[in-house]
Symmetry: C2
Subunit: 207 residues, 2 copies
DNA sequence: GTCTATATTGTGATAGAC
DNA sequence: GTCTATCACAATATAGAC
């Protein structure tokens, strides 16, 4: 029970950051939200930067677990689940993604850490594509695979922000399944007919 | 000569916004940059919001001209040029794109205007794809074309920001040709062999 | 048109009592 | 651990002299 207030600060911060943007949320608003005094907040965290950094630690732990894709055989269903979990994590910490350049400018020490995440996303995409190729599910040259993975990472990183642009009023009304579908669309042209058909049927739900 | 100072304010603002992020630039810094007093700045613009709005007017004019793609036959070379000009405009006003959600939250009156731009980007993509289909250059179902255009608009909107993540130190060192190439990669799987070959050869320069 | 001076408010952060 | 009170400073914006 010792860290109860500390935890409440972090959770409230995350929620406020996500809905209003990190730079538009003050420490006073965070304290207000959970009915404590600003002084109390600063007893638990010596600066706003410390709150952001600790939330980033959470994010890194969570997405790090996901990106540790093993080098084994991966099914299309596995990939579907993987992408969905990724988008869930991104949505959970969307304050980072929605103003990426701004956040990374204000908290420079996060720059290398985020760049490492991007690199790991790229590697994970590559492991999945390579596994598909080995199974004969996917046909693409090395060049095509590189470009495809690059595009997948871009989409993973920014699809949610892009989608939010159409729902700026109620930002929580975003269906993450659409993001997964959008990534699958990128892969589709290179898929074996069988798998492409399955995708095509699913598209009914998302277009 | 009447509007010299007013213009200098706008140009300096644009440059500072682009390199440091709009929310990280104060009116004092803008005034400092061109060696005028803050009071003078506020003689020309009654608020910072007015500066941002006028820069947005510029942006809208510039990109509006580009997005007025006529319904005529379009060659792959035309598309290449079109995409390059689009990315140039986006780069010129990248302060908007790099923290889109933040900017649109702080200046709510820009939300519908930007959403209209997105819509027009989508329509322009569609006109190009349809022209390609008519010419037999591109083969794709209606569903595939919709998904492709969606993906193209996402890439147009966020490719530059994504690329910047790797060059956070010197943000001007971004080759826009890579962005054009990245969009072409999206279209590639649906292209006729002839055109896809040309693309493949170009990929040497960009990978 | 431009400047200096200043009002006003907001924001991150600290000191010291309870 | 928590609160009240407050500091220090930066940001937008205005007033009035030149």
């Amino acid at each position: 029970m010792k860290r109860k207030t500390r935890d409440r600060i972090l959770h409230a911060s995350l929620e406020l950051f996500n809905s209003r943007g990190e730079s538009n949320v003050t420490t006073l608003q965070i304290a207000d939200e959970i009915d404590i005094s600003p002084g109390n907040l600063y007893y638990h965290f010596k600066s706003k930067s410390d709150i952001v950094t600790e939330l980033y630690d959470w994010f890194e732990d969570q997405i790090g677990d996901l990106l540790a894709v093993p080098e084994v055989e991966i099914s299309v269903d596995d990939q579907w689940l993987f992408l969905h979990l990724l988008f869930e994590t991104i949505a959970h910490f969307r304050f980072l993604y929605q103003d990426l350049v701004n956040v990374l400018s204000r908290y420079e020490h996060l720059q290398p850490r985020f760049q490492r995440i991007i690199k790991r996303k790229y590697d994970a995409s590559h492991r999945i594509c390579d596994s598909f190729r080995k199974q004969g599910i996917l046909t693409a040259s090395n060049q095509e695979t590189d470009a495809l993975c690059h595009q997948i990472v871009l989409t993973l990183t920014y699809w949610l922000s892009f989608e939010t642009l159409s729902h700026l009023n109620d930002r929580d009304a975003v269906d993450l399944g659409r993001g997964v579908y959008q990534v699958m669309v990128l892969v589709a042209p290179y898929l074996r007919d069988e798998e492409r058909m399955v995708l095509e049927r699913m598209s009914q739900d998302y277009l």
